[in-house]
Symmetry: C2
Subunit: 229 residues, 2 copies
């Protein structure tokens, strides 16, 4: 967590967030008003936060990772614009460390070169759009970070992603799998494009597929930046 995020959570009167994320900052939340609810209630929570801010109370909406990467920043701003209150309240987005950055640090240095981040969740995005992006990311030889690779109901998409990448890349392309990146109970695996589905992958996991220069060594995954060493 950034120093700025930490200090902000210390200072605000009310903290709003998904229960799992509130639990991750339990120490900071003590004694504060907390508005928590389950998954799929994102919009309701952000609306409540805006209503609290309109009462001139200070409130923080928390996301995991970075609120600006597939997080709550967009919902808060869109709602404030829709309600016509974006000038009446002072909204600040505090950047954080998203799973791509956290997982990369645990794998070594896979993101030393151009990369793409793609969510495999088709709840809010047509699967056809996601497939097209996978095709372009693979052809463009981007190091590719897959968010939400698997959920209880979504198990086939990661197999399709593997199939697409194997059209353009050799089976020995390094693939990193990181579960609970930098959350204390982290699990890190370095595998290959041909083999990585043999390892457990769930909704707390991100998957990183190397580019054509990425190599693995000593359980590290490294994409050379191109310096002569």
């Amino acid at each position: 967590m950034s120093i700025k995020a930490y200090r902000t959570l210390q200072q605000v009167e009310v903290i709003v967030g998904y229960k799992t994320y509130i639990d991750l900052v339990a120490e900071l939340v003590k004694g504060k008003e907390v508005i928590s609810s389950g998954m799929m209630k994102e919009v309701d929570r952000c609306q409540k936060a805006i209503e609290i801010a309109l009462q001139k109370r200070s409130v923080a909406v928390i996301s995991s990772g970075d609120p600006g990467i597939y997080g709550m920043a967009g919902v808060v701003l869109e709602l404030a614009l829709k309600m016509g209150v974006q000038e009446a309240i002072d909204i600040e987005i505090i950047p954080g460390i998203t799973s791509a950055n956290a997982a990369a640090a645990s794998l070594g240095a896979p993101l030393m070169h151009d990369f793409a981040v793609i969510s495999l969740s088709d709840l809010l995005t047509p699967w056809k759009t996601i497939v097209q992006r996978l095709e372009y990311a693979a052809q463009g030889d981007f190091v590719t970070v897959l968010y939400n690779p698997v959920s209880k109901k979504r198990t086939e998409q990661i197999k399709e992603a593997q199939r697409i990448f194997l059209k353009y890349k050799p089976g020995n392309t390094p693939v990193g799998i990181v579960r609970n990146a930098k959350r204390g109970n982290e699990e890190v695996t370095v595998s290959t494009l041909a083999e990585f589905l043999k390892h457990p992958i769930d909704m707390f996991t991100v998957v990183l597929i190397g580019n054509n220069r990425t190599f693995s060594s000593a359980e590290l995954m490294i994409t050379p930046r191109g310096y002569s060493l």
Copy 2:
């Protein structure tokens, strides 16, 4: 800066880094041994840091943003592998907040959906490879973050990037320009794909090009995640 990075800089005996970045953490560096040098000496600096670690002294190599995104993490790990000392020293990569995250937070919420990060620097990468990635990022409708868009000697590449994106995207696609993202003297501009080159862009700037749903409003740049509001 993350709490972890801050505490690490407090604890180590020696800090190694490019002078400009050392100056950004002047407070933390006071009283410590500092090994600093200009640009283009990255490999030398990392080698020195490894030699210090081999003497059982604690040393931090600093990068701006996130050392794992186009930063020094890769050089340190590659050198340690090449020298055969990766097991003799304990190397930890501490993730940070890269320009993409920082700039996104200042623009509003442009990275709520799949995105690509591309460096326009052709010092270490053939320009042909960069052009191909720009083509695929534009066709894949990724929100695209351009690092190193311009330098003193590199002024044409950003024009070529604009030309490529205009082949696939309308001229009114929002483009965000952020200089010195979250460094205190930040400058934020929201423009369009057709017009953004009228604004000053230099090596301290990142440029974010929206996807086909990104909109701008009240000087914000927002890519909807897709929730119904």
